[in-house]
Each structure stands twice: as structure tokens, then as C-alpha cells.
Amino acid sequence: MRAIHKVLVANRGEIAIRVCRTLREMDIASVAVFSEADREAAHVYAADEALLLGPAAASQSYLNVEAVLGAAKRAGADAIHPGYGFLSESAAFAEAVEQAGLVWIGPAPEAVRAMGDKVRARALAIRANVPVLPGTEGPVADPAELRRAAEQIGYPVVLKAAAGGGGKGMRRVNHPDEFEHAVKLTQGEAKNAFGDDRLYLERWLEKPRHIEVQVFGDAHGSVIALGERDCSIQRRHQKVVEESPSPALSPEKRQELWDLGVRAARAGGYTNAGTAEFLMDARGHFYFLEMNARLQVEHPVTEMVLGMDLVREQVRVARGERLTLTQEEVRPRGAAIEFRIYAEDPAAGFLPQAGTVRRLQLPSGPGVRVDFGVREGGLVPFHYDPLVGKIIVAGATREEAVARARRALGDCRIEGIPTTLPFHLWLLEQAAFVDGSYDTSYLAHHFHGLQPPPAGPEEDQAMVLAALFAHLEAVTPRVPYYTPAESRWRSGAALRAEPRDGGRR
């Protein structure tokens, strides 16, 4: 057993806040780290202490192993929680953490190394009798070799960064003509995001479902499945909506999938939290995709159907404790759905957009959980992932959860940045989502951007308000714009008067 008194959370945004919340609940001190761009970020104020890592660029801050370890040393932390993304799947970082005498809250570095590399994970899966898709055996750096493999397997194929995850560094290629440019872009992203430009390539499955198993292992040899999550609603190969249980599984298929997930985890010598990702084709066959050796963005849906705290479980397991549950005790109840709120414009191909959150009104009430990484008046910087938060709903049935999602997302107001919120409201009206029959190709085929709101009674109401606003502008010296930013000074700028929005700009 290893004691943990102070944890450095090597991340930012909603996940850093989420981890700090559990640490506080466990009476463990938390240390936030931040880049120059995040001086005023919400996650800084979710922790007990906060330390500057370095310049805005991730490579010089959140991806900077020396800076993070230095901060841990300065703060006197005895453990590190990596969150997801950034250094969370870097085996080298996990090793460096352990060599520095700190507890790594995540899978053992060997497992991170084995499973973080998709190619090695694939080989391990094959050996453990977990089915995989046809593809390259190992990582490939040479574009010509990749092209030969593509021609052997047959188009369409998919290129993936060997060290990637979460849909980043992943590209479908439909035709030999696109191949060269696609390889170049994917390598660039992979190099930039993961410091490793090796790719691999596999067959592109038409209309599959993307379903993953949450696995958890302890140091005492237990490995269990904490249910599955269906992540088939994707844009740009990235998840935007996830749910548990999957509406596509019979009880028998569910059991089969959980067993495959546990088998894959055992093959990788797995401890702590991880996720085994699978594709399921139209015939119900599963194909192992990859293993994510970390907490997933979408872990809250599992927490909601199981009524447990996965971060708490991560800390317990890292201390050497046994899992709280046995496999038999894992009994999901009801249904939960997560909606990722990205600072992206769904009307413009989900183009990410940085900016200031001018207004933030989040939903509440029964069955609604909100995990957000920014607050009203806060900045979404362009240097990092555009995920600003998540809204998770739960209901006694999937139908109730869907209805609740409509209510909760309808209650939500975010202004100042474009977000995926209107996209989610669109999705909630689509038959294929309501009946659960969607697959990973759904958005590409059915989402063609958002239409401007139609003429009708609602437009008339909006028009009346616009006219009333113009009237108010005309009869009052200035319109009192809603400007939370007004209530702030920045350090060193105390004497600079902030310009006030005039009535008519």
C-alpha cells in the first residue's frame, strides 16, 4: 500500500477540474498546473495549489515532461494524475514519474507502452484471441510501404497515428489519388500531437458501431468490465456523443463484448482504468481497435449507470487497494448519455473557434450532470483541444434519458463562442438517434450543417425583440450590455480603464 497525500493533476480544462473534485472528496491535496495561456483558467482555481508550467504551446507546458515533474517536486506532490490526452498515454512519462518516486495514477508504464502503441496492442490482441481488422502488422514510417499495404487490403482504408487516440491523427482514404496528401497531413498531426509520426493502416469498415468496454484492474490480479459505452456518433472520427448501455447489444452480445474487453486488458497486463475499443459490424462481429490506457472523456456515462466514481477507484487502485466491486456486482441501472460541448461551429464543418465565453447558463435538475472546464467570462484559447465541457443525462430508460437531454440541452445557453450545442439539439430530433439505430457513418451521411431557423412564430418573437432592442437603443443613452468582463481587472492593468460597450457600435 502506498499513501497518497498530494496529487499533481497534469492536465487542464474540465478533466483537471473533475479530478480535483474527487481529490477534494478524498481529502487529498491537489496541485494544478497551467500554461501562460491558462493563467485565469477555471482549472487553476479548482485545486489547492497552482504552478506555472511554461509558455502557451503544449509542447512547452502540458506536454513538457521536465516542467511537469519539476512542478510536482516544487509542490511536494507524491502522485500524478494525467487526465486524458497530453501525457496520459506516454509510457516514457509514466516511467519518469515512477523513477521520480511518485505514484502514477494510471496503468503501469509497461501496460501503457504495450497498449498505447496501437500496433503492439493489436499483436497482443491477436495472441489473446481477440479479433482484429486486417491491416499493417507494425508501425510504418515509409509512405510507399503504406501505399502498398493499402493496395493489398483495398480502399477505403484508414490511416492512424500509432501513438494516437480519441480520433486525433486518424484519416480515412477513399482513393489512391488522395493517399499522399493524407499521409502527409496525418504524419504532421501525429508528430505534433504525440511526438511520433509512425502510422498504421487498416481496412475501413462500412457502417460499423463503435462500442468500447470500460475495464479496470487492480494490483491483486482482478480485471473486470465496468460496462460498455456506445460511441458511434462521430464527426471527423471523433466522438461527440456517447451512451451506456449501447442500444445495439443484446444481453448475450453485451456479455461477449465485456469478456473480450477483459481478455484484451489481461493480455496487456492491465491495472487501473482503461478502455478497450471495438467496432461491431452489421452482422454483430466485434473487432478490437485499440486500448486506451487512461480515463476516457466519456467516463461519466459509466459513472452514472453504475453510481460509482471512477477517479476515486483510480486513486484507490494506485494506492494498492483492491477493486471495490467484483464482476458480479457490476449492475448498470437505467441509461446515460454524454454530449460533448466543443467550441466548434457545427454550421461550418465543426471548425474549432477560440474565444471568450460571454454567457454560460448550464442546465440542472434531476438526472443532469455538468462537467465544464470554462466559466462565464472565461477564455477558450486556440492552443488546445476545443472541448469546453460535457453535459451528461441519466434516466430510468433510454427514452427518458433522450427526453431529459432535450430538456437539459434546451435549458443551456452559451454565447461568445460557437458550440456543438445546436448540433446536439438537431441530433436529438433524428429518428436514428431516438431509436438508437445509428452507426459511425451516420453524421457523414445525414448531417449537412445547420439550417438557419425557419420563418414562423418563433422568428416573429425574435423579430419583435430585435425591434424592441433597436427602440431601447434609440431612447436611452446607452444599452446596458451584459458584460461580465466589466467586473474584472487584470493584474498590472489596474489603471487601464476598460472601454465600455457603447449603445451603438
Partner: protein, 167 residues
Amino acid sequence: MKVIVERDGRERLIVIEPSGAGYAALFDGRRLHVEGQVGAEMRVLLDGQPVEATVRREGPDVLVAFHGREYAFRTRDARAPKLGRRGAGADRSRGELHAPMPGLVVEVLAQVGDQVDAGRPLVVVEAMKMQNAFVAPLSGRISRIEVKPGMPVESGQLLLAVTPGAD
């Protein structure tokens, strides 16, 4: 006050006048009663229907956000003269390529003077962990390049311009 409100090319006349503890809006032969808190934050009953909306001005536009949607209107005083539209400028800038979001230029894939086809990737900008290749807006010759790799760009900033036409 009489206000002319335009959306999607359709103009409508609305009369706003004080009425009881609120306002009345007259349009299309209808009369709608507005009561409650008005301003940039509207929280009003429209003929008894509760509506919460945020309203703000962006240049000539008034943007009304409610029910998860945003409506953009152009408003003007019915007594004021009509302003010219900015159509011509848009035409002239047809060959310009602007950054649609802030980010960092990673790569410039062409040089001034190059003849390019519409759709060819010209500039790669990285933002929020994604590399986005921006393509030629039309076929022609590159007349200006305003950025280079490593340079941060703001939303709306000119990246380069293409003069229409083949050789």
C-alpha cells in the same frame, strides 16, 4: 418608434410603443404585448408566453439568441434613409483567403505567382490540435501571400489572395 427589420432579404415594419407596464409591438396587422425585463437580457412574456433571450448588436445587425438558436436581423429607424449594401466589396474580395479562426500557420504550400486550381490546399493552419488545410477559393494566380510558417493568425486575417483566371 417605427423600426424596419430585415432578415434574409425580407423587410418588415414594426411599431414599438409603450403600453401599460410594458410595450406593444404592432406588425402584420397584429398587436403583441411585451412585459417583463427588457434590455440586453430579455426576460419577457409575449402575450403570456415566457421568453428568455439575449440580444446584442454586432455592427448593423441585432442578434437575438433564444431556444438554442440565434436570429440575425438588420434594423433601422423607419425615418432614416436606407443604407447601401456592401455587395461590391465582397465581389472584389472573392479571391481572398481569410483565416476562419485564430491559429498558427504550419505550412504554406504555394508561392506568389503560382497558378493554382480551385480547391488546391494552400495554407495549413493548426488550431486546437487539428491541422486544417485551406484551399484556393478559385482558380487563378496567387497575387499575395501574407503569412509564413510559425506565424499566429487572428480570425478573419488575410492569408493570401488569388487573382482569377487561367494563364
